[in-house]
């Protein structure tokens, strides 16, 4: 039978029929349905299992507060666990499966837990499973982990795209029910920039679920008209399927737009969801209210539902959840549910009203002062047991029971700044507190005003007030006529007596007994209650259960509800897909690439690239026949040392420093002296942090009287620039210094090796003989008429230059150099060979510049001038940092040339046990030196400067290897620097 519970009416498009499946069974539904409404229309109440006891569960609600009806939506890599069937929009071909049940939803083996419930009380696991200790990981925990969890991820990459964006507005209105629509209309008509966001796919909020009239027409029709008017306003942006997830500082709100979730697959190029950051000057929370249940025995069966949800399914979706319906209420709104259902032709068998007083409803069995004490029906409600005012009990056959314990304003977002909501005795609910997010006010049910008129009036009034704050005059116009019924409610939280369980948090299976146990064990603060029982920690974050739970605790401790207080409401309002929060920043697009000027050329050569921060640099460039990276690297090193090699060093930071105080400025930011640097020369400089630790190094060239070009390490280019700006703006604001980064403006290549000059001379337009361009010289030249810069500096220990041309010519320059270098067998070397040569030469780099080492540690202590005040100078002299037995940079060679070294190995003396007391330091960088024919390394060794020539062990306890090593000078190669000056 198809759609056996579908009744007339509702906002569904019956002209189209869609097929969908749940657990492999095919059903029919219509556009406008949710998965839950369509399943209910087909007579399916059982949709899930609870977390702990694996109790059968059907939907409790008709909205995003749903704790029970969680399914796995879609299949394959798009499988989406824990999806609330109550908000999943139906589409043709939708597939859903049940979760947390095995072998089937109807027969779940883990329901054994339900039989054993008396053992599985709140926190029982804290009291047992402790012996023997090793059994926790091996036995108990694996069982618990397999049983726990809800839905499953497939472990496949999410195939959908996600997007992000930024929106700006005068007024953000959260929720498009009567209050939100009224606020948006008021603000829109006043010309303000308005964003109206609603989580539903249809605006109107509760009006869509009601038969109430607004302005003489059905509320849903009035909402349609309001939306039509708003959509014609260019200053108003309407966002359906958009959940505002959190209030952040200074009027910034996060919102998730479900762009494609109502489609089988997103359209080509379209994201599944978009994360919007909304920058609002003012915001109105019009997010409505959520009905709450009453706790009574076995109140968790499929078919037991919030009364307002029963009404919504009937009015909005044309679904009668059951053929015989009862309603249990403590307030007038429950009566409205009963009457609406009756009006739709549903058989209302009893209205159980906890209130003793008041009028009786016409035409239905209205039991005053009564309560529901139990229910029956294993996989779905079959009957309800009622205790009447006189104490008599009676069991009534019913397939649906609507429960209304009152309505909780949705204060969540107003409490995201940790403001505490305030108890409102009139509605028996919490309303937003005074100290919520600045700029945010609440209207309508969210503010505790539960009538339609109150919502319309509140929305309008709050919009007028918010815009007045901004200097925008908005008119409080005539409001459409709407019901304005007062709230009539008596507190009724739970039904006492009975031995069974009464659920408060149905997903996590927290019952009245658990709260009582928590109180007995003195977990009676609400935070302890939550943490001990897991109340409100399920996927619904306690939207229906929290207030109920704390009201029960209040009753047990004899405190009032406001004294008991609430736990903290946290973002997000409803759970958000991780993909949405990440947006496009994933896979290869996690971070942008930075490509060097020679990248294209290197790609053509088959270079192997390596990530250096965001840069991709050539690591080595294999030649035909080379099968191991070491062959390539050795060749590159040897060729450079023998003749000439070229390396793209564009990634080094370059900063242009000008101004009449530039020299004095450099003296402040470098530890060593720069004032004495002559025009046309470069100097190596050491930069300290204020704590005296070295954080960067590089060469700076004086290109003119007041013009310098500084280079930094690749890693610290941004940090150095930031620190220079700090020094010039904050520390020494009267200095005449101007800064600009030129890192990317120039393509820079190192040309190193005995034939470097010969090669360059073929390419550049000027004389660069030793006389014209001496060691550490710097100047402007040209290459084929293109302006260029030349620096005679070396990182490799060879006669070397760095030549720079405007970046667009970088590709041409590397090709030119290789062409001109043919006669010298010039090669391009990558970062590995660069590393080999710098270790051979004993230059410090990233592994030595570890943020923990001083100039003294590096053997560069004399560079720190004490004759001037530079950053870091004073504190570099603290006693612990000038310890003569502290770490010193040393060279390390295996005693047996075949011995292998590993960076990160630690130094131990011969015979010393591998314990920390004997730790001598560690190897920082290790390379194979083809020049020396063995592994070599740099290391920090305690009192290393006193241990040159000594033999020790380099121990790698991870690999259980050790190598006997000789401690040597870190300058393995040409320690006198003769080649540099060649």
């Amino acid at each position: 039978m198809s759609q056996e519970n579908r009744i007339s009416g509702g906002q569904i498009d019956r002209s189209k029929t869609w097929r969908f499946t749940f657990d492999g069974v095919s059903y029919q539904g219509h556009p406008g349905d949710t998965l839950a409404s369509a399943l209910l229309a087909n007579g399916v109440r059982l949709m899930g299992r609870s977390f702990k006891y694996h109790r059968p569960r059907g939907p409790l609600s008709a909205g995003s507060e749903e704790p029970n009806a969680l399914v796995q939506l879609r299949s394959g890599a798009r499988q989406e666990p824990n999806t609330r069937a109550t908000v999943a929009e139906l589409f043709d071909g939708l597939e859903a499966t049940s979760q947390n049940a095995w072998p089937s939803l109807k027969f779940d083996a883990m329901a054994i837990n339900d039989r054993l419930n008396t053992f599985f009380t709140a926190g029982f696991y804290y009291k047992t499973f402790m012996w023997p200790a090793s059994f926790w990981e091996k036995v108990y925990e694996p069982i618990i982990r397999r049983a726990a969890g809800l839905g499953a991820l497939t472990r496949q990459e999410d195939p959908d795209d996600y997007d992000k964006g930024f929106l700006h507005c005068d007024l953000l209105v959260i929720g498009a029910g009567p209050a939100g629509l009224s606020a948006a209309l008021t603000a829109g008509r006043a010309g303000a920039r308005v964003i109206l966001a609603d989580e539903d796919f249809r605006m109107g909020g509760r009006l869509n679920a009601e038969t109430l009239e607004v302005g003489g027409q059905p509320g849903a029709d009035w909402a349609l008209g309001a939306v039509a008017e708003l959509s014609a306003m260019p200053n108003v942006r309407l966002m359906t399927r958009t959940t505002v997830i959190g209030a952040f500082d200074h009027g910034i709100y996060g919102a998730v737009e479900r762009v494609s979730d109502h489609l089988a697959v997103p359209a080509k190029g379209k994201p599944r969801q978009t994360l919007w950051r909304i920058y609002s000057r003012r915001a109105i929370l019009a997010g409505g209210a959520t009905e709450r249940p009453i706790a009574f025995e076995n109140n968790d069966r499929p078919g037991v539902m919030l009364a307002g949800a029963l009404r919504a399914y009937a009015n909005r979706w044309g679904v009668a959840v059951g053929d015989r319906v009862a309603v249990f209420t403590n307030n007038d709104d429950g009566l409205r549910s009963a009457m609406d259902l009756k009006a739709r032709g549903v058989d209302v068998v009893a209205v159980i009203d906890a209130r003793k007083d008041g009028d009786l409803l016409p035409g239905v069995r209205h039991l005053k002062g009564a309560e529901v004490v139990d229910t029956a029906g294993r996989l779905g409600l079959k009957s309800v047991t009622i205790r009447q005012a006189d104490g008599r009990t009676e069991t009534v056959a019913a397939t649906a029971l609507g429960v209304s314990g009152g309505w909780n304003p949705n204060v969540n977002i107003s409490s995201h700044h940790r403001s505490r909501p305030v108890w409102d005795e009139g509605i028996q609910g919490f309303v937003p507190g005074e100290d919520g997010p600045p700029g945010l006010t609440a209207a309508g049910a969210a503010a505790g005003v539960l009538s339609t008129h109150g919502a319309l009036a509140g929305g309008q009034a709050q919009a007028v007030a918010a815009l007045a704050d901004l200097g925008i005059a908005a008119k409080a116009g005539d409001l459409p006529r709407a019901e304005d019924a007062p709230v009539s409610i008596v507190p009724k939280w739970y039904v006492s007596g009975g031995k069974g369980r009464a659920w408060i948090d149905p997903q996590n299976d927290v019952t009245l007994k658990d709260v009582k146990l928590a109180q007995k064990e003195n977990f009676s603060s609400v935070e302890h209650l939550k943490r001990y029982t897991t109340l409100g920690m399920a996927t619904d974050q306690g939207k229906t259960g929290n207030v109920l739970g704390l009201a029960v605790m209040a009753g047990l401790t004899g405190k009032t509800i406001p004294e008991t207080g609430t736990t903290i409401y946290r973002p997000p309002y409803t759970p958000v897909a991780m993909g949405t929060l990440a947006g496009r920043s994933r896979g290869k697009e996690f971070k942008p690439f930075r490509l060097t000027p020679s990248h294209k050329w290197a790609e053509e050569q088959g270079a192997v690239f390596v990530e250096v921060g965001m840069w991709l640099r050539a690591q080595w460039l294999p030649r035909p026949g080379e099968t191991h990276w070491r062959q390539s690297v050795d060749r590159e090193v040897l060729a450079t040392r023998k003749s000439v090699g070229i390396c793209d060093v564009t990634t080094l930071g370059k900063i242009d420093i000008q101004g009449t105080d530039a020299a004095a400025f450099l003296d402040k930011v470098y530890a060593n002296n720069f004032a004495s640097l002559a025009v046309g020369k470069c100097r190596y400089g050491l930069m300290l942090r204020e704590d005296g630790i070295v954080y960067d190094d590089g060469t700076t060239a004086r290109m003119g009287e007041n013009e310098y070009v500084m280079t930094t390490t690749t890693a610290n280019a941004v940090l150095v620039f930031r620190n220079l700006e700090y020094a010039r703006q904050v520390l020494w604001p009267e200095m005449d210094v101007q800064l600009i980064s030129t890192t990317e403006a120039w393509a820079q290549f190192s040309v190193a090796g005995p034939n470097a000059r010969k090669l360059l001379q073929k390419v550049v337009d000027q004389d660069i003989s030793d006389a014209a361009f001496p060691y550490m010289g710097a100047g402007n030249i040209t290459v084929g008429g293109v302006r260029a810069r030349l620096f005679r500096i070396s990182f490799s220990g060879e006669l070397a230059y760095e030549i720079a041309v405007p970046t667009r010519y970088g590709d041409a320059l590397v090709r030119r150099l290789m062409e001109a270098g043919q006669e010298f067998d010039a090669i391009v070397y990558g970062t590995e060979a660069l590393g080999v040569m710098r270790v051979e030469k004993g230059h410090v780099a990233g592994n030595e510049l570890n943020g923990q080492s001083t100039a003294l540690n590096m053997g560069l202590g004399k560079m720190v001038s004490k004759k001037k005040d530079s950053i870091g100078m004073v504190l570099s002299q603290r006693e612990g940092m000038v310890d003569p037995n502290g770490y010193r940079l040393v060279g390390v060679k295996p005693v047996d040339p075949k011995g292998q070294l590993t960076a990160g190995s630690h130094f131990l003396e011969h015979g010393a046990a591998p314990v920390i007391e004997n730790d001598g330091g560690w190897l920082t960088s290790k390379v194979y030196s083809p020049h020396l024919g063995c592994d070599i390394a740099l290391g920090y060794l305690k009192a290393g400067d006193q241990k040159i020539g000594k033999r020790m062990r380099a121990v790698n306890l991870l690999a259980k290897t050790e190598t006997e090593v000789e401690i040597v000078s870190p300058h393995f190669f040409d320690s006198e620097g003769e080649r540099l000056r060649g």
Binding site: D163, F166, M614, T660, V786, T807
Partner: protein
């Protein structure tokens, strides 16, 4: 003198490319020279005078001003980026420096950036997904630094339908990729 060197665009091509995604046109520009001009301490009046004499606009904060041959936009207190046609001003520092003498610090910036000119009947829907600039209310001539998918950029709004982006040159391909996929998601 050896042969001159041939240039590549930031996207690694001999000539700039134009990409069209629906109504969105993304045009790489390779024909604009760029230099920073920063006022030396206490020389604001000299710089203003020299700029006026040379016809170099020095707009107020967060603004771009067009001129011929020089246009300029503000980048920092007492600092502007000055644009000029590359064909005539390839060595833009050599051209600009004499105009200011020692009153300003001038630095070449041409190749530090990739420039994309974006155009469409309305760039709003694209811009709101790209960066945190209130594009709809920004006036024409608005110039700002912003971040697009982790890449620092300068954005100049010429009109609602015409924008110039200067992004870090080394990330030109990543930036273009972002512009293209975002545009595809909007159309």
């Amino acid at each position: 003198m050896a042969d001159t060197l041939h240039a590549l665009t930031a996207l690694g091509q001999a000539a700039p490319q134009t990409h069209q995604v629906g109504p969105y046109r993304i045009e790489e520009r390779f024909d604009v020279a760029l230099a920073s001009v920063a006022i030396r301490k206490g020389r604001a009046a000299d710089v203003t005078r020299a700029a006026q004499a040379a016809g170099i606009p020095l707009p107020e904060a967060a603004r771009f001003a067009a001129g011929n041959p020089y246009s300029a936009f503000w980048v920092a207190p007492e600092m502007w980026f000055v644009e000029a046609p590359f064909a005539t001003h390839e060595d833009i520092v050599a051209a600009v420096k004499p105009l200011f003498g020692d009153a300003a610090s001038i630095t070449e910036q041409t190749d530090a950036w990739v420039r994309f000119d974006l155009s469409a009947p309305d760039l709003g829907p694209l811009m709101e997904r790209l960066c945190n600039v209130d594009f709809a209310t920004a006036p024409d001539g608005f110039a700002t630094r912003t971040v697009i998918e982790h890449i620092g950029c300068y954005l100049i709004r010429h009109t609602a339908g015409a924008v110039t982006l200067y992004g870090a040159r080394s990330s030109a391909k990543s930036l273009l990729h972002c512009l293209e996929v975002t545009a595809a998601a909007v159309i």
